[in-house]
Each structure stands twice: as structure tokens, then as C-alpha cells.
């Protein structure tokens, strides 16, 4: 079974961070939400395993600070 990888894997994290922020620069809140959602679907399909995506969702939810 596949499992979610959570060790550091991105060599150019700053570039990615900037590209993500940049993609939303001209968007209103609704359009921004839709872009997030499209990205999630594209990545989920790439992963191709609902269990791994749900694991990722749990990690993301758990990381929220009050």
C-alpha cells in the first residue's frame, strides 16, 4: 500500500511558494477558492490513491493552529 510521504522532499521550496502565491494575485476570493480546489483535484488524480489523499487531508487539518 502507498503511504503519504511527509519528510522534506522539495529542493526549490521558495520557488514553489512564490508561484502559488503569484497564481492567486489577481483573483477574488471565490476564484481563488476554485483555483485551490482545481489544484487539489489535479494533484489527487496524480497521486491516484484516495487513501493517500485522505491521509494528506488529515495531516493538513491537524496542522491548523487555533
Amino acid at each position: 500500500m502507498n503511504r503519504l510521504l511527509t519528510e522534506p522532499r522539495l529542493a526549490r521550496a521558495d520557488d514553489l511558494f512564490e508561484a502559488l502565491v503569484e497564481a492567486h494575485r489577481e483573483l477574488d476570493e471565490a476564484a481563488s477558492d476554485r483555483l485551490h480546489a482545481r489544484l487539489v483535484f489535479v494533484l489527487a488524480n496524480h497521486i491516484g490513491d484516495e487513501a493517500v489523499v485522505l491521509e494528506a487531508l488529515a495531516v493538513a487539518r491537524a496542522a491548523a493552529l487555533e
Binding site: A30, D33, R34, L35, A37, R38, V40, F41, V42
Partner: protein, 545 residues
């Protein structure tokens, strides 16, 4: 009252029970809608008489159910009315999904050849009910009592007593089994004080039947956010008599009284159909939908079927189709219990099988309705994102949910099934319905036509005269359907039967009276078949070693 259709008026007649006390019947069915009538016809087909009580004197007023799914059609075929549906109705397999003003994808619900029935036939509910009334009357076993309203029921130690109101006054009867098919507002359910809980959706929907000479193809068309109904959805279906069903989502704030007025409806339809299309309004209604069910369907000698037991939103056409599968499941069990061949506990398996089926229908209908009417910003963002992606990427199309259309439930965890011991690479597993396939015969024929009223052994290969005799013994014989070359065999000309059942010499399926699989084996084995039959009748309770 629709313009294109004149409701028949069935006569109220006095009956013998009104002139005596102590009238008693083995089976009384409350409600002569599509499910109650189906119950009566199925029982009659099995030789069981019933009394049907209906508070009205006609079939469905206005259309409601229009999409009749393949499995329901197979059941109607058994009851002898499916050819009338085919003759009058609209056959379809294809659906199209539009976003704003363009198609984003299409889907085929039955891409495979070699099936007697299409994925769906569209036909107004009142025609179906007419055919069921005709079949019920033709059987000679159904006592149809129009204008007989059930006002109350009392459960007896064994059986049920009913109070009935007619134009001539009230009377009472008793019965061994009461089948409550009195719809979503069930009086029987309320009399028993049973809770009917679930999810209620806020959005209102305008449902209109429109008569017009339009060239729309015989397909299901669904729009998200169309220019003619911005921010909402729309659904279009063709029915018989040049009548089209149009569903327009109105949102949660719409006022149903205002929205059903022709001066509101006509401009909405005009926007959709264009300024030049002549049309007549046949029938209009404004609905909110809910998905809910009873906790249990059997309460002593009262059994609920159809909308009295469970209700779904119409996206997916799972209401009527699900209800018909209820009575398909109940009919043979009731017939066996009434004949004394099966223990009364067999009726408990109706709950064990039809509650998961209702849950599957509710789950699918709820998800579709949630997708169609997103209730918060996040669900709308995901919904719209899926739609946007689906326009250009096939991978996103399975995320789009404009209705997951009715499919038969496979009774996967049924206590009546014998678990597989042998390996199969194809074919219906125990609990699943049979898969139809063509049979070679002059004029063409279908495998399902070769299933008996009772149990059937579907065997690939040959069966010795001695084994044939053993299967035919006893009060509940097993009929044979042999797929092969010999005399009396079903010929698998196209090879589709063997393919769909992973059939090799010796392969045997034990088929229940409702055409669901009870057991399957790689080797023909009479003892195993008889034991599986007994289990399917509720006579063997422990698991097989």
C-alpha cells in the same frame, strides 16, 4: 390535470366486506400507486391473491416518475407489461452534461450490446400505473378497491386490523399481512408512530411537463449554471406524447406559491426553449426534496415498501425504481411464507436486503443533490472546480455528479446467500441480480425469459435425468435452465452468456425467484444446490462450513 393525458376514472364498487363483519384476507396492500400495484401484480404472478385499497379512483395525477431503469424494466417484463412501456416510452442510454452554454462531456449508461432492455425508458408514471392496473385486473387475483381510504390500523397478536372509509361509509377488515405502500405521507407509518428521519434539502425545484414538437434527441441533458437559469441547474428529458420534463433549480429563497404560477413559469421556460418554440404547459409543481427512511421496514405483520419506507431526491431516478425492487424482493418471500414452505423469519431478510439497498439509494441521491445544490462556499468551490476541470480533462468527469442513475442493489451481505467457495473471474456474485444476455432462437430471445417463477439452476453443460428428478422433488422444486447444445437447452450463440457468467462445463448458478443469485458453484452438485436453496428460503441459518 395534464393536457396530453386524460386520467382514467376507475369505478368505486361495494364489496362483500362492507356487508359483513369479520372479513379476513391473507394480504392487504394499502395504496394503489406504482409500488402497491406492483406488489399486487407480483403476488398474483406467484398465484397469491391480494386486496388493494386506494383512497383515490385513478392513477397518478401528474407525472412524477418518468425514468424507468433497466432492472425495473426486467421486472416489468416478468409481469408482462414491459413491452407496453417500450411501445409507448422513450428509450435512452446517453446523457450529456453542460456547463453554462457548452457541453463538457457525455456518458453512455449501457455501452455494451446484447441486452433486452436499454439503460432507461422514459414514460409518465400514470401510463405505468395504467398498465399495472390492467395486469392486476387481468390476473383475476387482485381485488382492487378504489375510494377505499385506510383511516387507521391496529396490530393484532398475529395480523392486522384496518378501518376503511368509503363513499358508502366505513368498514373494517383483518389480514395476515399488511403491505404499506401508501407513499411518502403514509398513514400506516403515522398510525404506528414510526419516525421517518433524514436529510431535507433547502433548494426548491420547479418541475414542469411541457408539450412541444421539439427536436431534442432522446438523451438526458443536464446543465450547470445555464444562461437561461444562471447560478442554478436544469434537467431535460423527453417523455411520450411529445411531452418533455424540465427541472429548473430555483434556489432556497424561492416562494413555491409564486413560482408555480404560469406567469412565472412560462418566461422561465421561454428563456430555456427560445422565443420561437411553441409549447403548452402540461403540469407544474414546485418541490423540495429529502432523503430519509424508516429504521426498519418490517413491523410484525406490517411491511413497508416504496416511498412509505424510504424517500430520495429524484436525481438518479431511484425512488420508483427502488420501490419496485422492494416488491420484487418481498413478493416471492411472502408467497413462500404464506404457502408454509418457508418460515415466517424469511420476511426478516427483506429488511436485511432492502435496508442496505435503500441506504445505497439515499447515499447516491444525497450526494447528487449536494453536488447540484452546494450549501456553502467550500462545497461550491469544489463543485465548480470539478466542472471547470471536466470541460478539458477526462479525469475530472467522475467527480461531476449530475445524478448517479438507478442501478440494482447487490445483496452482498445477505443471510440468504451462500458464499462463494470457488473462484470466478466474472458473473454476478451471490446476492447480485442476473445479467441478461441473448439466446439463440427464431426471432431472438433473452436469458432472463428462461428463469422460472421459483428457483432456477442455471447450468453450463449437461444434467443427468437422475439429477433432474432430484431437483424437481419437493414443495419448492428447482427448475433447470441448461446452457448447451442438447435438446431443451438454451443456446449461447453469441458466447455472451458464457462470458458474462464465466461459464464452463459444470458451472452452476442457483437463481432466486427474484432473479438474484443465491449461490454459484464450479461443479454441478445437487446436494449443494438443495442446501443453498434452503438457505435462500431462510431454512438454514448457520454459516456453511
Amino acid at each position: 390535470m395534464p393536457l396530453s393525458y386524460q386520467n382514467p376514472v376507475y369505478p368505486y364498487r361495494r364489496n362483500a366486506d362492507q356487508d359483513r363483519s369479520g372479513g379476513h384476507h391473507p394480504v392487504v396492500i394499502v395504496g394503489g400507486g406504482m409500488v402497491g400495484l406492483g406488489m399486487a401484480v407480483d403476488l398474483a404472478w406467484r398465484g397469491v391473491a391480494s386486496v388493494v385499497l386506494d383512497d383515490n379512483n385513478t392513477v397518478s395525477v401528474g407525472s412524477r416518475a418518468i425514468c424507468h431503469a433497466k432492472r425495473a424494466l426486467e421486472i416489468y417484463d416478468r409481469w408482462g407489461i414491459a413491452d407496453r412501456l417500450r411501445g409507448k416510452g422513450i428509450l435512452w442510454n446517453l446523457g450529456r452534461v453542460f456547463l453554462r452554454d457548452r457541453q463538457i462531456y457525455d456518458f453512455n449508461l449501457q455501452p455494451e450490446e446484447g441486452h433486452a432492455w436499454p439503460a432507461f425508458i422514459n414514460l409518465q408514471q400514470y401510463y405505468l400505473e395504467e398498465y399495472l392496473v390492467d395486469a392486476a385486473l387481468a390476473s383475476g387475483l387482485v381485488d382492487l378497491r378504489w375510494k377505499n381510504e385506510v383511516a387507521g390500523i391496529r396490530q393484532l397478536p398475529v395480523g392486522v386490523e384496518l378501518d376503511i372509509v368509503t363513499p358508502d361509509g366505513a368498514y373494517s377488515i383483518a389480514c395476515d399481512w399488511l403491505i404499506a405502500c401508501d407513499g411518502a405521507g403514509s398513514v400506516v407509518r403515522r398510525t404506528l408512530g414510526l419516525e421517518f428521519d433524514g436529510k431535507i434539502f433547502e433548494d426548491r425545484f420547479l418541475i414542469a411537463d411541457v408539450q412541444m414538437k421539439a427536436e431534442f434527441p432522446t438523451e438526458r441533458w443536464f446543465w450547470f449554471d445555464p444562461p437561461f437559469n444562471p447560478g442554478q441547474s436544469a434537467l431535460l428529458h423527453r417523455q411520450a406524447d411529445d411531452v418533455f420534463r424540465i427541472d429548473l433549480q430555483l434556489g432556497a429563497d424561492a416562494d413555491p406559491e409564486v413560482e408555480r404560477q404560469p406567469e412565472r413559469v412560462i418566461p422561465r421556460l421561454r428563456a430555456m426553449l427560445g422565443p420561437d418554440m411553441p409549447f403548452e404547459l402540461d403540469w407544474v409543481s414546485v418541490y423540495t426534496f429529502c432523503c430519509r427512511r424508516l429504521e426498519r421496514f418490517r413491523h410484525g405483520r406490517v411491511v413497508f415498501a416504496g416511498d412509505s419506507a424510504h424517500q430520495v431526491s429524484p436525481f438518479g431516478a431511484r425512488g420508483g425504481n427502488g420501490g419496485v425492487q422492494d416488491v420484487d424482493n418481498l413478493g416471492w418471500k411472502l408467497a413462500l411464507v404464506l404457502s408454509g414452505a418457508a418460515p415466517e423469519s424469511l420476511i426478516d431478510s427483506y429488511d436485511a436486503e432492502r435496508i442496505p439497498a435503500a441506504d445505497e439509494n439515499i447515499l447516491n441521491s444525497t450526494r447528487s443533490t449536494d453536488f447540484i445544490s452546494p450549501k456553502n462556499g467550500a462545497s461550491r468551490a469544489f463543485r465548480d472546480a470539478a466542472l471547470e476541470l471536466a470541460a478539458s480533462h477526462a479525469f475530472a468527469r467522475p467527480l461531476v455528479n449530475s445524478g448517479r442513475l438507478s442501478r440494482p442493489h447487490a445483496y452482498a451481505a445477505s443471510p440468504l446467500s451462500t458464499a462463494d467457495r470457488d473462484a470466478f473471474v466474472a458473473g454476478p456474485a451471490p446476492g447480485a441480480p442476473l445479467i441478461d444476455a441473448p439466446v439463440e432462437a427464431a426471432g431472438g430471445d433473452w436469458l432472463l425469459h428462461h428463469m422460472a417463477t421459483g428457483f432456477t439452476a442455471l447450468v453450463f453443460g449437461d444434467v443427468s435425468p437422475r439429477d433432474r428428478a432430484r431437483l424437481a422433488e419437493g414443495p419448492v422444486p428447482i427448475s433447470l435452465c441448461v446452457v448447451g447444445e442438447g435438446a431443451g437447452s438454451v443456446r449461447d450463440a453469441a458466447g455472451l452468456i458464457a462470458g458474462r457468467y464465466d461459464g464452463r462445463a459444470g458451472t452452476t448458478y442457483l437463481v432466486r425467484p427474484d432473479q438474484h443469485v443465491a449461490a454459484r458453484f464450479r461443479q454441478f452438485d445437487v446436494a449443494a444446490l438443495l442446501e443453498a436453496r434452503d438457505r435462500a428460503m431462510g431454512r438454514v441459518r448457520e454459516a456453511m462450513a
